[in-house]
């Protein structure tokens, strides 16, 4: 069958032409392939390329922005800072505005991958609360030159008051209580999980001393047998559904969770905890700097920040937006954490590759232990 067909083709088309067609076809495919990956052209002037966490901006806000300014938003997403970093570092994608977390701002800034933000173009920055700017100023972005805070959060313990009496959870050490064996959730993320052990012993969560880390991980290994599961985004669902009684979660999950299960309560352990600030930054090689500034300015607008808050329920650093919220949300200490509760808390800092490798080694030791 195939032989006959071959003969037929051979009769009709000379071999050399056939060969040429195939070579060109293949070359075309390869070029198409390359073209897809190397499409880093400037594109239109009326666009802004945004690179942020998945589902981190209310889609309605994006639409409104496009309608109002006529600027087309090209939104790409990542799941972790570590996923975004090589893309920016190697210029694998050119973005006008990105949304890194605190320690990643520090790394990008130190490597010269960010440009200073021109605040005269972003007047709405005045709505951002002083204390959030201070956190940035005091740690990852001295002078607030490179980043505009967008979302804020703290880690804490959420627990089911039906199973655990209200008020009995106050400290990280409660996670070592054997009563809660098989009912407990931990975060599944290197720094966010090891933080619990470090804070338990009163160390800084940015400690690069091996002795501190060893002490923390030894305790965590002892505790691992009590853990039901390591969960990040699914933690709230397991707590809502009752598969677990307590767990380490971010305070941004509180509103959503309490809506579905009013028995859930959230505490910030007395030893202090981890804070995060996610920020808008402009990479040094941005094509549409002005559009990026318009984007940041738009998101700092109080009505827009409120809309985003309603969608995300993570703490908004936008004080004007906070004032627009109903009193019970505005004054909820789990969502807008009082500054006194933050005194012993820290944001993650960039530690350098040597300390990162140390953390990674201890993390693997912890995750593969099975005592």
């Amino acid at each position: 069958m195939s032989g006959n067909m071959g003969k037929g083709l051979r009769g009709l088309v000379p071999r050399r032409i056939l060969l040429t067609i195939f070579i060109f076809g293949a070359l075309f495919l390869v070029l198409l392939f390359l073209g897809l990956f190397l499409d880093n052209g400037r594109g239109s002037e009326k666009e802004v390329r945004v690179y942020s966490y998945g589902d981190y901006v209310d889609p309605a806000v994006v639409e409104d922005f496009e309608k109002e300014t006529g600027i087309k938003v090209i939104l790409d997403t990542f799941d972790t800072n570590e996923e975004m970093y090589p893309v920016i570092k190697n210029h694998a994608g050119v973005y006008d505005v990105i949304c890194p977390s605190d320690y990643m701002v520090e790394r990008l800034r130190k490597e010269g991958l960010l440009q200073k933000i021109d605040y005269s173009k972003i007047p709405n920055v005045k709505y951002i609360g002083e204390r959030y700017l201070k956190i940035a100023d005091g740690s990852y972005d001295p002078g607030n030159q490179y980043s505009v805070p967008y979302q804020f959060g703290v880690a804490g313990i959420m627990y089911n008051t039906k199973k655990i009496p209200k008020g009995s959870i106050t400290s990280w050490s409660d996670l070592w209580n054997p009563k809660y064996r098989g009912k407990m959730l931990m975060q599944d993320s290197l720094r966010d999980t090891l933080m619990v052990g470090l804070k338990l012993h009163g160390h800084s969560l940015n400690s690069a001393r091996e002795a501190d880390l060893k002490e923390a991980v030894d305790s965590l290994i002892d505790q691992k047998k009590l853990v039901y599961k390591f969960a990040n985004d699914s933690a709230r669902d397991l707590l809502i559904g009752g598969s677990a009684d307590l767990g380490v979660v971010w305070n941004g999950e509180v509103l959503y969770s309490r809506d579905l299960n009013p028995d859930l309560d959230f505490v910030i352990p007395k030893e202090g905890t981890e804070l995060f600030v996610d920020n808008w930054c402009i990479p040094e090689n941005a094509f549409h700097k002005e559009n990026a500034e318009k984007w940041i300015n738009y998101l700092c607008r109080p009505e827009v920040a409120k809309k985003n808050f309603d969608y995300l329920t993570y703490t908004t650093p936008n004080e004007a937006a906070r004032k627009m919220l109903p009193a019970e949300v505005r004054n909820d200490p789990a969502i807008f954490v009082p500054s006194s509760a933050l005194e012993k808390s820290e944001v993650l800092r960039e530690l350098g590759s040597e300390a990162n490798d140390l953390y990674s080694r201890y993390w693997k030791m912890y995750k593969s232990s099975n005592k």
């Binding site: 071959g6 051979r10 071999r15 056939l18 060969l19 195939f22 070579i23 076809g25 293949a26 495919l29 390869v30 392939f33 972790t80 570590e82 996923e83 970093y85 090589p86 098989g182 599944d188 993320s189 290197l190 691992k224 853990v227 039901y228 599961k229 390591f230 969960a231 397991l238 559904g241 009752g242 598969s243 677990a244 590759s353 990162n356 490798d357 990674s360 080694r361 993390w363 693997k364 030791m365 995750k367 593969s368 099975n370």
Partner: protein, 270 residues
Amino acid sequence: MKRQAFALPFILCLIASTVIPMMMVAYYGFTDRSGSFTMANILSVFQPVHLKALGLALGLSLISTVVCLLLAFPLALILRDSHLGRRGFIVFIFILPMWMNFMLRTMAWQVILERDGIVDSLLNFIHLPHAQIINTPAAIVLGMVYDFLPFMVLPIYNSLMKIDDSLIEAARDLGASSRKVISSVLLPLSVPGIASGITMVFIPSLTTFVISNILGGGKIYLIGNIIEQEFTTSANWNLGSGISLVMMLFILGSMAVLQRLDKSGEAELL
């Protein structure tokens, strides 16, 4: 000459999607962060943490391969002998779940096995004690068996279908019992299928990280999880590539052994 020309586009695709990426993995595996040559990434597999994860991965994937084999061979025999309509239909039914992404099917197991999930509630309903297997190695084995069973059944089924019925009749004429027919005729003749089935179950189980993540609750670390972590959270591509290269040795080794048994190349039928 002409036939080679037809192969050209495929060779180009092969180069672009297999050879070049492999070379990049090798480059990262043999260099450190600053780009100078090192063997440290390869040798890091001897670190206790990595050895432990590798040992666990080997253990669990061996168990799942054996379980798959024990389930698949009788099933393939049944499929061969079934006269329920067209045989193709039963095989089709068997392949049907594979149309759905295996991540989703694995996540479904998570829901089924979760505390107060379907299994738990059923056991509770008939007053049996809770059997918590979620977030244990047993759940991972279950996931592996469930996900990769079709890859064991189909090659065995293919090789069983190739056996001429007259061989079985001849064995019967010579007085062989059913058991003898299976052990002396069907089993030896389906060795190629079994060999490729083992390859296709063992290798993906050995390197999986999704199943252990979803059904192990993040409490169990296989070698695949270590590699994944080096790429996604630790941002140490060099170490991740180094361990991947070692895993490639394991895979090539097991394929070389099994290839000898599978001379007819059942694997290519899929």
